[in-house]
Amino acid sequence: MTPEVANHWYPVGMCSGIHGAQATQLLGQSITLGKTGGQFWVRDAGGKALPVIERFGHLWTSPGQPNRDLFTIPEAETPGRRLVDCGSVRVKCSPLRAVENFLDIAHFPFVHTDILGAEPHTEVERYDVDIREEVDEVWATKVKFFQPQAAKSAEGGITTEYMYRVPAPTCAVLYKTCPPRPGEWDVITLFVQPLTEELCEVWPWMALYDDDTPMADLVSFQQMIFMQDRSILENQIPRKLPLDPGMEVPTQADLTSIAYRRWLKRTGYTYGAQVVAA
C-alpha cells in the first residue's frame, strides 16, 4: 500500500453500532475494532493500535500516518439539525465508483425515477467545478436540477440547487437546498470504507433541517435511493474506475467526475482505480 493511499482517514463503523470487538477490512487488510470502557479502539492484523477519531457519528482510522486532521463540516454543526445515521450498504464496486456516482446528477431521472428526477427534465445545465488547491478538495457549485420529490420533506416538483465537495478520496459531501429553510443547506454525506479495491462498505450520513419526518422514514428513504444506486454500481465494467481518458466518454454534465479523476490521478490515489487503459 502506497503512502498516498495509507495516509488518509477512513470510516470503519457507526459509533452507535459498535459494542464489543468486531472484525472488518480496510484496504484489503483485516482489522479489528471495538469499544472498551467507553473508548473506541482499532487494531491492525498484527495487533498494533491504529489512530482513531470519532466524528460525524462514525469511527475513523488510518493504517498510515495522516498528515492532517480528518476534514470537518462546519455547516453540519449549526444548531437545530437532526443528525441521521443511515447504517451501511455493502457494494461490490470500487470505492471510487461509489463516490463518483454520488457526485453525478445526470442519472437521477433514470435511476431514481420520479423521486430525484423525471423525464423530460433531464437537462444538466452548466455548473462550476474547481480543485481548491489551498484545501486540496474538489468542489462543484451552482448545480441545479429539477426534482419531483427532492427530499422526504419536499412536496411537488422543485428545482433544487446543490453543491458537491470531495474532501477526501473516498468521501463526498452534498449540500442541498433545504425546502423548509430557504437560505440554508441540508448536508448529506457519503463515507466509503474501501474493504478491497472492488468491494466497499458505504456509510451515508445526514444533517438535516427536518423536525417532522420520523427518523425511520428518513433512513428508509436514503436506503431506498442507495439500493437503486447499487444496482448500477455492481454492473459497471470495469469494476475499477478508469483514471486515464479514452476508456469512457464524459460530457459537460460530467465535469465533477472529470475533476475528481484528475485530482485522484494527480495525488497518486490509485486504490480502486484502473490506471492503464485495458
Binding site: 423525464e119 437537462e123 466518454v249
Partner: protein
C-alpha cells in the same frame, strides 16, 4: 438480455420492429451494462443516464444535453446477429457464412451447463461444433453457445411433435451426467 460468448459479455435486444441486435455489454459513457437498458422503438437506452443508441450502435441522444447532436465517435460495439429457426445467432468476428439451418425444428429450452462446450460435445461423441444433431427419435438438436472456459449454454430443439416436457427432462438429465464427469 445479457449473454456471454467466448468470455465476451453481450447485450441482446429486440427492437419494436422485431429485429434482434447483439452488442458489447458496455455503455461507452461510464461502462454500465447495456443489457440492463430499455428499448424504445428501434433504439436501446442505457439505464444509467439514458443515452440512446440507434440500430447501428451510434449514440443519437444524450438526455443531459438534449440539444446536442452527439459526435459520431460515440458508439456501442456491435456484432453480426441473425435470427433463424427459433435461434438467435451471433458472430463476434465479421463473417460471410450463413447461420446453420435448423428448418423443421422447434426450440424447446436453453440450459446453462457448468462445462466447456468441448466437454459437452465429446460427451455426445461429437467434435465441437455449433450444432450437435443427436439422431434421437425426436431429432433432438443442440445449438451450443460457448460462454467461457467452464460454461456453455445448450439450446435444445426438437421435432415439433415431440413432447416438450420429455425433451426438457432429458436435457436436465444430460446436464447432471456431464457436470458429474471430471473435466
Amino acid at each position: 438480455m445479457p449473454g456471454r460468448i467466448d468470455g465476451q459479455d453481450i447485450a441482446i435486444w429486440r427492437g419494436a420492429s422485431g429485429q434482434v441486435h447483439a452488442w458489447g455489454d458496455r455503455c461507452p459513457h461510464r461502462g454500465m451494462r447495456l443489457s440492463h437498458g430499455f428499448v424504445r422503438g428501434e433504439t436501446l437506452a442505457c439505464i444509467y443516464h439514458g443515452w440512446q443508441y440507434d440500430a447501428d450502435g451510434g449514440c443519437d441522444h444524450i438526455p443531459a444535453h438534449p440539444n446536442l447532436v452527439p459526435p459520431k465517435t460515440i458508439c456501442a460495439t456491435t456484432y453480426s446477429c441473425a435470427e433463424s429457426d427459433d435461434v438467435i445467432w451471433v458472430a463476434l468476428r465479421p463473417t460471410d457464412e450463413k447461420c446453420p439451418s435448423l428448418a423443421g425444428l422447434r426450440g424447446v429450452r436453453s440450459l446453462t451447463i457448468d462445462a466447456a462446450a468441448e466437454q459437452v460435445a465429446s460427451h455426445f461423441g461429437q467434435a465441437v461444433n455449433a450444432i450437435l444433431r443427436l439422431g434421437t427419435a425426436d431429432n433432438i438438436t443442440l445449438a451450443l453457445q460457448p460462454m467461457d472456459a467452464d460454461h456453455c449454454t445448450a439450446h435444445a430443439l426438437s421435432d415439433a411433435r415431440a413432447d416438450r416436457t420429455d425433451v426438457s427432462r432429458w436435457l436436465e438429465h444430460q446436464r447432471r451426467v456431464i457436470e458429474g464427469q471430471p473435466a
